[in-house]
């Protein structure tokens, strides 16, 4: 056993995903406290070439699990072999589908404790403690692994739990995972890929999100939201009701079964604020809601609640911001 902090570094389109940079920074911070090293386990197309660059993000060492895309759960045996007998203190995984599946398989294969999805992690008296928003955000729980549980403790981190480091750090030393048989976990394969015609915004990285719900009424109703998003350099998101209706692609859905977002500004238009939506946006720094129902639940947790018709207010707001920014309309 050692005091290292391992993290999963997912590569996406040839470069480290945002989650890899966040977890590298998180692992570096925790490793500084635990007296160990931040060790990345990289996978996805481009991982081999890009592994060393994770040094600047906080990693001391990086082990390449795979250099191709595919279901990450097939890498569970390789990850287990990498951990080997000299188990690190903690293992950070992104709370993405791939990250969760790989972490889950590792938990099952090695009988490891797992915490998460968490929103904060710290080390207290040499033990890892994780803070979690549970029961649909109604309580905060702090958890740890049992003193006699095996190491490492797996920690699923939501996007935005850690902030990427800005520059600094040299290249990480890079090695390749010992070859291992994926077994049945490698048997699920992608047999068809159907990318959408148009690119879809990555809401997890947006600083400003203008979200529309059932109140927007139609696909065309999203046009004023698009314009407001444009003047704020933001992205458009949606409730499930709007995605279910086919007004926007499902990739824009925010909530329990959609994206968990953490923008500096979230503006909800015609969204009631159901608990399943709320769990996807409650960590936004500033929440504005525009709703014609003065009793809408979103009015209970928004920072600014504007009662009124979104179709009247949103275009006025876009025009007002244009005026203040000096953007010609």
């Amino acid at each position: 056993m050692n005091n290292d902090i391992c993290f999963l570094a997912e590569f996406d389109g040839g470069s480290p995903a945002r989650s890899a940079l966040e977890l590298a920074a998180g692992a570096a911070g925790l490793a500084a406290e635990s007296g160990g090293a931040a060790v990345g386990l990289a996978y996805g197309a481009g991982a081999a070439a890009g592994a060393a660059s994770l040094g600047a993000a906080g990693a001391a060492r990086v082990v390449v699990l795979s250099d191709t895309d595919g279901p990450a759960i097939s890498l569970a045996a390789a990850a287990a072999a990498t951990i080997g007998d000299d188990a690190p203190l903690a293992f950070l995984a992104p709370a993405t589908p791939n990250g969760r599946d790989l972490a889950a398989a590792l938990m099952g294969l090695l009988g490891l404790p797992a915490l998460g999805p968490v929103r904060a992690v710290r080390i207290e008296g040499g033990r890892v403690r994780a803070e979690q928003s549970t029961l649909q955000g109604t309580v905060i729980t702090v958890s740890e692994s049992m003193a006699d549980a095996p190491q490492p403790v797996i920690i699923l981190a939501l996007s935005g739990t850690f902030t990427p480091l800005e520059g600094g750090g040299g290249a990480a030393s890079v090695s390749t995972a010992p070859s291992s048989d994926a077994g049945a976990l490698g048997a699920a394969r992608i047999v068809e890929s159907h990318p959408a015609d148009a690119a879809v915004a990555n809401l997890e990285e947006a600083a400003v999100i203008i979200a529309g719900g059932r109140g927007v009424g139609s696909a065309a109703g999203f046009e004023p939201l698009n314009e407001l998003a444009a003047v704020l350099d933001g992205a458009v998101g949606a409730s499930r009701a709007a995605a279910d209706a086919g007004w926007v692609p499902y990739q824009l859905q925010i909530g329990q079964t959609g994206k968990v977002v953490k923008p500096a500004l979230y503006v909800g238009c015609g969204i009631s604020g159901a608990i399943q939506h709320r769990v996807g946006m409650q960590t936004a720094e500033n929440v504005v809601a525009i709703n014609k129902d003065p009793d809408a639940p979103i009015g209970e947790f928004a920072d600014l609640f504007v009662v009124g018709d979104l179709f009247a207010i949103v275009p006025e707001l876009t025009a007002e911001i244009r005026r203040r920014k000096g953007i010609p309309s």
Binding site: P97, Q256, Q276, V306
Partner: protein, 260 residues
């Protein structure tokens, strides 16, 4: 072809939650429902059965005795029979222990597909499906927007960052579904009556060949603190203003926070 749908009883999202002295959720004090995403798994299984791709739909739940209610509700939606794993030694089970126990029960039931909701309302770790697959040594098809079964293979449609993928694995598999598989049906009165006559068998740990030691006293993790979320500043309300005025107030508010 047999599907076992794993069903968890959870506190209703509207119910008031209470904690016991040892920081476990007091499940007896909260109104309980079938985990909503598990209802989607049930719906997917029943649709496959109606389409003739599946003969038998079986339910499996681990939980306190009172969780039998969730299984009766599932049986009222459809399906043939149910199994409940309940044992005092499992109180406060964490995700690992849950996966270990479900994997053992699934070993006895030997379905072609073990189907689950992608996450539970009260934990949201989404770790149980992958862990069960790893323990059982089976392929995992997770986050399915649709499950399809043909011959000896299972296929799913899964949303990606911009579109969707189709994944395939040889049966038997473990699979999890999202809320895109189709809205869960309501139990009919006839279904509720029929459910009373369907078989619901109860197992304890020993029936699964497990001891309390095998599940590490039900958990590898523990909660050390429970507290309410941080209280935020009260909501500022803007009401009874014309659109231009309201817009100007919002712009002032954004400017004060350096958001424009």
């Amino acid at each position: 072809m047999k599907i076992v749908v794993c069903v968890k009883q959870v506190p209703a999202t509207t119910a008031e939650k209470r904690y016991t002295a040892d920081l476990r959720l007091d499940r007896a004090a909260s109104e309980s429902v079938i985990n909503p995403l598990d209802e989607y798994a049930i719906e997917q299984a029943l649709r496959l059965q109606e389409a003739g791709a599946v003969e038998t739909v079986v339910y499996l739940s681990m939980g306190p005795e009172s969780a039998a209610e969730a299984l009766r509700r599932a049986l009222a939606m459809g399906g043939e029979e149910a199994y409940q794993v309940t044992d005092d030694a499992l109180a406060g089970a964490d995700q690992w222990a849950t996966a270990r126990v479900l994997a053992a029960a699934l070993g006895k039931l030997a379905p072609d597909v073990a189907l689950m909701g992608m996450s539970s309302d009260d934990a949201r770790g989404s770790l149980v499906p992958g862990a069960v697959a790893a323990i059982r040594g089976l392929p995992l098809l997770s986050y399915a927007a649709e499950l399809m079964l043909t011959g000896s293979t299972a296929r799913i449609r899964r949303l990606t960052a911009s579109g969707f993928d189709v994944l395939e694995a040889p049966l038997p598999v473990v699979a999890s579904v999202t809320d895109q598989v189709g809205e869960p049906r309501y139990a009919s009165l006839k279904g509720i009556m029929a459910a009373r006559r369907k078989s619901l068998e109860t197992w304890n740990l020993a029936d699964l060949g497990l001891s309390a030691h095998d599940v590490h006293g039900a958990a590898l993790t523990r909660v050390v603190e429970v507290r309410p979320p941080e209280t935020k500043a009260p909501t500022e309300r803007v009401e009874n203003l014309g659109p231009a005025e309201a817009a100007s107030r919002i712009a002032d508010w954004l400017a004060a926070r350096k958001l424009i």
